[in-house]
């Protein structure tokens, strides 16, 4: 605590203001879900829950939600397999081009989503893929892999190599060492990486727009409904429920590991 008292107070006020800036829009969106008027103005006309039932029974919304869940689930599985394998490879072995691999994996996040979207759109068209679930899964996997990769490799760097050596010295073979020593030590990193990958995929709009074809995922459904402006009360409800539901997996991911970066939770 080397800072002067005035500095400390000023910084504290700044932190409070930034938190207000971060959370007021989220509070606003939650409140509008209960707006009794169809006109979206402030202050809201009154509180009601009448929009929840028609929204939840909206067939288009249900289909979009279902597609989103399937795509995010499958992309997460692919990301877990490819991302953890790559992290083991990069962690264990020294070879030419090792640095290039992390650069390669981080590209889909570093490059604007519209480029990934356009590139994959024309790639899938060229190979005559049918646009739909699997094109979205492949597209989302590209940017989900790095999330799992970063989580697992950060954990591997912290687990001492002597544990593996001890296991081998005690007579365990490679698979047993993996099953009883390595896997337990990275399991929470896998879970949190998987949850973050799921949340990232579930939320994605731009790459999805280019790879989903005529169908909608939940975010693209919301986007088109906002632009049409016909069913804004239903949009409010969906958005409120999503905010509630996406916060849960991330809070869980945070509990499983402690410190964090953005693409990894430790």
């Amino acid at each position: 605590m080397s800072e002067r008292r005035g500095t400390r107070i000023a910084l504290g006020v700044w932190v409070a203001l930034v938190l207000a800036f971060l959370y007021i829009p989220i509070a606003v969106i939650c409140l509008y879900a209960f707006n009794s008027s169809t006109i979206q103005s402030w202050p809201i006309a009154g509180l009601t829950t009448k929009w929840f039932s028609p929204t939840i029974h909206n067939g288009d919304m249900q289909q979009a939600l279902w597609l989103s869940l399937k795509a995010a689930g499958l992309a997460t599985v692919i990301a877990l397999v490819l991302g953890s394998a790559a992290s083991f490879g990069v962690h264990r072995f020294r070879f030419f081009g090792r640095e290039a691999i992390s650069f390669l994996l981080v590209l889909p996040i570093a490059l604007p989503g519209i480029i990934t979207g356009m590139a994959l759109n024309s790639y899938f068209t060229y190979w005559n893929f049918n646009f739909g679930l699997w094109t979205v899964v492949i597209a989302h996997s590209t940017f989900c892999v790095v999330v799992v990769y970063n989580n697992v490799i950060a954990r591997l760097r912290r687990v001492p190599g002597s544990l593996t050596e001890a296991s081998m010295d005690l007579g365990a073979d490679g698979f047993q060492t993996f099953r009883y020593v390595t896997f337990p030590s990275i399991s929470t990193a896998l879970i949190s990486g998987g949850l973050l990958a799921f949340a990232l995929s579930f939320d994605e709009v731009i790459v999805t727009t280019f790879t989903v074809g005529a169908r909608n995922t939940l975010p693209t459904w919301i986007f088109s409904e906002i632009q049409r402006g016909q069913e804004l009360p239903q949009v409010n409800v969906v958005v409120f429920l999503i905010v509630l539901l996406t916060i849960i997996p991330v809070a869980l991911a945070q509990r499983l590991t402690r410190e964090s970066g953005i693409l990894r939770t430790e």
Binding site: I29, P112, A119, S122, L170, V235, I242, V243, P249, I262
Partner: protein, 308 residues
């Protein structure tokens, strides 16, 4: 502990165990084989799908399309780039995009630094953990929802006008202006700036700051000569996100910026999805990629990748 180490069980399933051990042994003696097995799936998948698609996209930027059939014409030319350069409308869009992206990055760095400083150096470990989650949560609380909420706030009958009116201040209509786009982008990407700066600040050993003070530096001098240079990789890491994400986005300009606030992303999405002119879209999309490519190379030099 390990069930396979029990001799009795080892005998009962000795064949399977033997085969597994032989495979394990074979892999153990050939580390390159293990490395190849682990790395080739992801590397091959990335090269065959992602990189191939990217290369094809940028190659097509040098092609054209038939105006009537929208079919690709495979003749090499720089026409798309020439159009971009000569048409002032496209120059304006590109400049607007880059200027707002730079403004958003600067704004976020200014907002984020004191916040991250408080987190890293003043907060108790418990408060730090709470702040950490509070910063991270909005990032995952639906991107489109957060933009939409700003649409509600900035509308002429929204929360902002209402509050300013109550305070007796003039209430400018911010909806569908570049200012609105700038505010919303700064809001949406702010956590991406706070977390890397925090990570960088947290890594500065306290002894460095003590040493600086022992050598007679005042607080401001320590900040300028010790803390800021060491926090720079974090700021650069954050700016990779804020700059790149703003450059490539078209959702916020569409919902918030209105017709006169088009970004590169809007023009690219329009010509790729509706206009059927993929080569031109690819050529225009090359602008942010070239900018970001150069930026990433510099960022890597500055050690920003460790702070992601």
């Amino acid at each position: 502990m390990a069930a396979g180490l029990d001799p009795a069980q080892g005998l009962s399933s000795s064949d399977r165990l033997g085969a597994r051990r032989r495979l394990g042994g074979a892999l153990w003696r050939r580390p390159w084989l293990r490395g190849l097995t682990l790395l080739s799936p992801s590397v091959l998948a990335f090269l065959l799908v992602y990189i191939a698609a990217l290369v094809a996209l940028f190659v097509s930027a040098f092609w054209g399309v038939d105006v009537f059939t929208s079919k690709l014409i495979h003749t090499w030319s720089l026409d798309n780039f020439r159009t971009l350069w000569n048409e002032s409308a496209y120059r304006h869009v590109a400049l607007r995009t880059i200027a707002i992206a730079a403004a958003v990055t600067t704004t976020d760095a200014i907002i984020a630094f004191p916040f991250a400083y408080f987190m890293a150096r003043l907060a108790t470990p418990r408060l730090r953990a709470i702040l950490f989650v509070l910063v991270l949560l909005p990032l995952w609380a639906s991107y489109i929802a957060r933009i939409y909420s700003w649409k509600l706030i900035l509308n002429s009958n929204g929360l902002l006008s209402w509050s300013l009116h109550k305070l007796g201040l003039p209430a400018p209509s911010l909806a569908y202006t570049n200012t609105a786009t700038w505010i919303v982008f700064s809001y949406v990407w702010l956590p991406f700036m706070i977390l890397p700066i925090y990570a960088a600040l947290e890594r500065i050993p306290h002894s460095y700051i003590e040493a600086s003070r022992d050598l007679g530096a005042k607080g401001s001098r320590t900040l300028r000569s010790v803390i800021l240079p060491l926090a720079l990789p974090g700021v650069v890491a954050g700016s990779i996100f804020t700059f790149s994400l703003t450059l490539g986005d078209y959702i916020t300009p569409t919902l918030i910026g209105g017709a006169s606030g088009q970004f590169i992303g809007n023009v690219v999405a329009d010509s790729a999805l509706r206009g059927g002119n993929l080569p031109f879209a690819a050529a225009f999309a090359a602008v942010p990629v070239l900018v970001m490519g150069a930026y990433l190379v510099i960022a890597r030099r500055l050690g920003a990748f460790e702070a992601l």
